[in-house]
């Protein structure tokens, strides 16, 4: 039974290398600052909650998160390579294998789930709560350097189906389409090697984007249709893992150093204001955490 009508759901599980609790603070505070539908629920585990309570005062906690769901879960192994600028690579455990369970765990009738490295800088996503769309995500994306994503982030295979980003997912919990979508997502996760073979995509990392894209394709009758709607603005802005944040001027105004993905020595600076952005270099956000925290709480 849903306790609340509309809200934003964040997921944070620390992994020893990236402080997801701090990213959740940044993401939640930006939702609070820039959206009208800004009731925020955090889905987390005991270890991350402990880190969070050490990080924030009770007052800061109460203005940042309205509701916290704490799970006692064992994360399945899923190792991911990250980049922090073009010159630093590291691997971490990526705790994303239970992401499909958000459908059952969300306390909202209408949920907007955003990843904690997605920084909301305006109120454009509020529009989705006023629609009767049952399920919505982004299919298209454009970088802060104004490049399209790499081919494997546009399609699962160069001749294959479109990729939908699982970074931001909206659904209504009374929707049969949404229920089936998350059910297929789970099924794809459990049979990932088979679907990897079937849809011809590479890699060993379990990608929720791919599971969600396959679920959308199956629900569309294995064809192109609109069972999944596109979120407001139609294109998700993103900053690559090789990008570095130079300066946070305010919570929604920052300067990013962007190397050209094909010629890493060719950098330009891109200033992005009042936009929602998927900042993929999580360590770059955390390097500015103290400044961001000051901007949030004074």
């Amino acid at each position: 039974m849903s306790k609340y009508d509309k809200g934003v759901l964040l997921i944070a599980y620390n992994n020893g290398k990236i402080d997801y609790e701090k990213l959740a603070v940044v993401a939640a505070s930006n939702v609070k600052r820039h959206m009208k539908n800004n009731h925020v629920t955090l889905l987390t585990d005991v270890k991350t909650l402990t880190a969070l309570t050490n990080e924030l005062t009770p007052e800061q906690m109460s203005v940042t998160f309205d509701h916290i769901i704490v799970e006692d879960i064992e994360h399945e192994r899923n190792t991911r390579m990250h980049r922090d600028s073009p010159w630093n690579e590291f691997s971490t455990q990526f705790n994303n294998k239970n992401k499909h369970s958000i459908f059952k765990k969300s306390p909202y009738k209408q949920t907007l789930m955003i990843d904690v490295d997605y920084i909301v800088g305006n109120d454009s996503l509020d529009v989705i709560f006023d629609t009767d769309y049952e399920l919505a995500m982004y299919k298209d994306a454009i970088s802060v350097r104004n490049y399209k994503p790499r081919i494997w982030e546009q399609k699962l295979h160069p001749d294959g189906i479109d990729m939908w980003w699982s970074t931001v997912v909206y659904w209504r919990n009374d929707s049969d389409v949404a229920r089936m979508f998350f059910g297929i997502w789970e099924h794809v996760k459990e049979n990932y090697n088979y679907y990897k073979w079937l849809y011809k995509f590479p890699g060993v990392l379990f990608r929720t984007d791919y599971a969600a894209s396959i679920a959308a394709h199956i629900l569309n009758g294995h064809a192109v249709d609109n069972v999944v709607s596109e979120l407001p603005g139609k294109s998700m802005r993103f900053s690559e893992q090789i990008d570095t944040i130079v300066e946070f001027k305010s919570l929604n105004d920052y300067v990013i150093l962007c190397p050209d993905p094909s010629e890493l020595w060719r950098n330009i600076c891109s200033r992005v204001s009042k936009e929602n952005i998927h900042l993929m270099n999580k360590l770059a956000i955390l390097r500015h955490y103290d400044k961001i925290k000051e901007l949030i709480y004074g």
Partner: protein
Amino acid sequence: MDDKLKEALEFSNYRLTLNNQKQNLKQRMNTMLTIGYSTAMFTATLELINFVQHLIDKKVEQFVFIDDNENPILITALEDFHAKLFSAYAEALNEYYNDCEKLKKQRNTKGLVGLNV
């Protein structure tokens, strides 16, 4: 480095950054053009705004439009719909214009992105 080459490369970098900033402003403008109306989403375009105005002028009371996700939506309050589309369009274009004017005044790469280093 040869001074002429240095100056030209700095200008080249400036133009690249200027173009990227203009693209960023356009992306921001596009985001602002989306409105929610009658349980659907629409992008405020000149074509749509003028078509709705045309229907109002023709005293049409209701009309079916295709929303941003290809759903047919019956709109019964055309004047209100027009006002919301027009307002979103005007607001987005005004912000785009003002920000472009600010960019025009910047004569170096650092100024374009507001860096003080």
